[in-house]
């Protein structure tokens, strides 16, 4: 197990480094120089940039400077949000994005696994077919359609839920989280159903059945864990999907999360901000993949050897 984790980490760290360096050099490649955007920069930002990247030094030294500053959590100044550093914006937006994403993945797991389990038990029956059909539809629901649609229906027409901003209590979270969780839960339901269907055909299930165990016990003790392996391997891409979806949801529902800063940064060519967020996202996703690997090993001990 430890070997597996170390090996994953050994690929994760270079991957991250490559992303950082690639994004850095990409930025330096930008036509017309990265920092002469449409708007002239004020001298303070100019100076800060000069200081942050050492623009007068050789390129590799600038890259090294950037990486070493990143290690200290210094992402440089933001070009759009003049009064903030990128680190400050991240500190502000990250909790909101993480809350959204975390809740969405929990909801999707609960909902998806339950639905998949239910369908697998009723394999071939109407309930199974209906659930699988709904799951396919759910996977094809982009957040940028469901988000506005939910806002229109529950917010503007029924007036049940807040349409914009964070507000008091948790009500503001409901629609964004549901819009985010829908496609992921559909995918998880399908994976759970397919995983169970193939596991329930395997020999060890017949062995358990030959022991006279109850069907429930067979399902939960012998069937479920290996059936969830595909779900675990989907968690990495799901996390990436959720972070991406969060960008839309935060824009649609006007939430001051990381995604919205990212879009603003991208639209306004705020390089330090975009770079910072991409790096952070990459790190998050790599971390999440590592976590998924751990779950893998628990679900199926054969994977522990890697």
């Amino acid at each position: 197990m430890l070997v597996l984790i170390t090996r994953r980490l050994m690929t994760a760290i270079p991957t991250l480094l490559v992303i950082i360096l690639a994004s850095f050099f990409l930025m330096r490649l930008a036509p017309g120089g990265p920092f002469d955007g449409e708007r002239p920069l004020d001298p303070a930002t100019q100076a800060a940039l000069q200081q942050a990247y050492g623009l007068d030094r050789p390129l590799w030294e600038q890259a090294w400077l950037y990486v070493s500053r990143l290690m200290q959590g210094n992402f440089g100044p933001s070009l759009v949000y003049r009064d903030f550093t990128v680190s400050e914006l991240i500190a502000q937006g990250l909790p909101i994005s993480l809350t959204l994403g975390g809740l969405a993945i929990l909801l999707a797991l609960m909902f998806g696994v339950t639905a998949g389990l239910f369908a697998a038990v009723r394999a071939g029956q109407v309930a199974d077919k209906t659930i699988m059909m709904l799951a396919t539809v759910a996977t094809a629901l982009p957040t940028f359609v469901t988000g506005p649609a939910l806002a229109l229906f529950f917010g503007l027409w029924l007036g049940l839920l807040p349409v914009s901003g964070t507000g008091e209590g948790g009500a503001w979270l409901i629609m964004p989280v549901v819009a985010l969780a829908l496609p992921v839960s559909g995918a998880i339901a399908k994976l759970t159903r397919a995983g169970l269907a193939s596991v329930l055909k395997q020999d060890h299930i017949r062995t358990a059945r030959a022991r006279g165990l109850s069907e429930t016990k067979i399902l939960f003790k012998h069937g479920l864990r290996p059936a969830l392996v595909p779900v675990a391997s989907y968690l990495g891409p799901a996390a990436a999907g959720l972070l991406t979806g969060a960008v839309v949801v935060e824009t649609v529902f006007g939430l001051p999360g990381l995604g919205r800063y990212f879009v603003q940064g991208a639209l306004n060519r705020d390089y330090p901000l975009v770079l910072g967020v991409v790096t952070l996202y990459a790190a998050l996703i790599i971390l999440f993949n590592l976590f998924a690997d751990l779950i893998y090993g628990w679900l199926d001990p054969r994977m522990r050897e890697g």
Binding site: H204, R206, T207, A210, L213, P226, P301
Partner: protein
């Protein structure tokens, strides 16, 4: 008084009648064996009365005076829980991968309502089935154990709740030849000690001989013949049984004379094959080490060994479809280079035939294209008409009609597919065939026919054969000489009969004992 009795049982799946009019009995402490080819309905016969297949069963089945025919699903579950134990074919997959051996054994012990066993008790159960270091095994996951060890765990779990009746569905078929005898002996021992009744299912007559008290021969869903095992084998009443017995190779049977070998054809000189370890790890896996064999014209050499002994790797190196990293392969004294460097003229000399007949044929190609493939590159001098004529000849040489020309592999039976593969191998008129377990995946009757075909082709075409197998008895029907492999090394070579009469190396002795 019988423990288990079936009278006039029939099994249907989705309305189709797959098993009919089966009757058999198993006495306490006795073993009844069902023998049949794949698709004969033997597994359905033994598993369906216990609700372990989707089949619908009718007739009378009494286990310990409980009528299984009238029992509902819950009742059947209860019967499985208390009275019966099951052993299945695939020890690799029959254990739950994410539960430790101890957890599964504990579940099996408690299935009939026994109290939670102590660790010592569980360890003792493993010791009983002949597993070394039983205490350590309890905490291991199944994938850490070898095939034989896993099958022992299966057996320990099957008898852990002290059942009265044991059902073993091909318990040794997936195991290495040398392990089969050990597992069968273990089952015999447990059966007599515990007074268990056992229903044994196998496709291989030789494997149940000497272990079964009663024999039931099945074909196409019906019982062909049944009775005391010794009497049925010594004195078969039905033609099918006779053919089955004749098809099953035995070390004691008389064999017809072979062709006279000619000059030296092939020689390997200290041949070695190393593979890189998977991944980035350093080091090599030595699959074949210092292998030196010879084959003469019109001679058959058996290359015999257990799985992982390196016999297939050696065969592939010789056939030029696998790497050879050390030593030399010589053809009539001239060097045959390694895999990719082999010229078309050299390739024409040696052709392979493989174990799995269906996987040997490209599923997208018609039989005629499959058979013609070697001519396309090995005989570019031929015209299209000549080629087509040769395909017809090759098919008739393997006793297939011209109707097969346009068939797709999916529509062929195992035996037909293997005949097509042999036709492809002989069409370019090679001098040596490398037969990699060419009869092992086939049903006994079909396998015997293929064996006969090969020996006939050898005589008619003056072919040399390298017959790679785990089955000495089958090899004895075809081969002049034998080379035994173990862990990548040739450990014994010699004249076939001489080696069988006086095996020197323990590996050879084990293989002979298992036949």
């Amino acid at each position: 008084m019988s423990l288990y009795e079936i009278r006039n049982m029939a099994v249907a799946i989705a309305g189709e009648q797959l098993v009919e009019e089966v009757s058999l009995t198993v006495g306490p402490g006795q073993c009844t064996a069902i023998i049949g080819a794949s698709g004969s309905g033997k597994s359905l016969t033994c598993l369906t009365p216990f609700g372990l297949t989707p089949g619908v069963v009718s007739g009378s089945m009494l286990l310990d005076d409980i009528d299984l025919g009238s029992a509902d699903a819950r009742h059947l579950r209860d019967v499985r829980r208390r009275l019966a134990g099951f052993i299945f074919q695939q020890p690799l997959t029959a254990l739950t991968p994410h539960l430790t051996v101890g957890a599964q054994l504990q579940e099996a012990t408690m299935q009939a309502g026994a109290a939670r066993p102590s660790r010592r008790e569980l360890a003792r159960k493993l010791e009983r089935v002949g597993l070394s270091r039983p205490d350590e095994r309890l905490d291991q996951f199944p994938h850490r154990l070898s095939g034989g060890e896993r099958q022992r765990v299966m057996i320990a779990a099957a008898i852990a709740h002290s059942p009265k009746f044991l059902i073993a569905d091909e318990p040794t078929s997936a195991l290495d030849a040398s392990l089969r005898a050990e597992i069968m002996e273990l089952l015999d021992e447990l059966r007599t000690e515990e007074g268990l009744g056992m229903l044994l299912v196998s496709h291989d007559l030789a494997s149940v001989e000497g272990h079964a008290d009663q024999l039931v021969v099945m074909d196409k869903g019906r019982v062909v013949e049944s009775g005391p095992a010794g009497a049925v084998i010594a004195n078969p009443a039905k033609d099918y049984t006779r053919r089955l017995i004749a098809a099953t190779p035995r070390l004691q049977e008389p064999i017809s004379a072979f062709s006279r070998p000619g000059e030296l054809l092939l020689e390997t000189d200290c041949l070695g094959v190393d593979f890189d370890r998977p991944g980035w790890r350093r080091g090599k896996i030595r699959a074949v080490v210092d292998a030196s064999i010879i084959a003469r014209q019109r001679e058959s050499l058996a290359l015999v060994g257990g799985s992982g002994s390196g016999k297939s790797t050696l065969g592939r190196a010789i056939a030029g479809i696998g790497p050879a990293t050390e030593g030399e392969i010589l053809w009539q004294g001239a060097q045959l280079p390694e895999r990719r460097k082999r010229s078309l003229d050299m390739r024409r000399l040696i052709q392979p035939v493989f174990q799995d007949p269906v996987a040997s044929l490209d599923p997208q190609w018609q039989v005629q294209d499959i058979v013609i493939e070697p001519l396309r590159y090995l005989r570019p001098d031929l015209t299209k008409v000549e080629r087509n004529e040769m395909v017809r000849q090759a098919l008739s040489a393997v006793a297939l009609t011209e109707d097969f020309l346009t068939r797709l592999p999916a529509s062929l039976s195992g035996g037909q597919a293997q005949r097509v593969a042999i036709a492809r191998a002989i069409i370019s008129a090679p001098q040596l065939l490398v037969l990699d377990e060419a009869t092992s995946a086939l049903d006994p009757l079909v396998g015997a026919e293929i064996l006969k075909l090969l020996s006939q082709l050898q005589v008619e075409n003056g072919l040399s054969l390298l017959f790679i197998t785990h089955d000495i008895a089958a090899a004895r029907r075809l081969c002049h000489r034998i080379a035994v492999m173990e862990e990548g090394r040739i450990v014994e070579t010699g004249n076939m009969q001489a080696v069988i009469d006086d095996p020197r190396h323990p590996a050879t002795q084990k293989l002979i004992a298992a036949s």
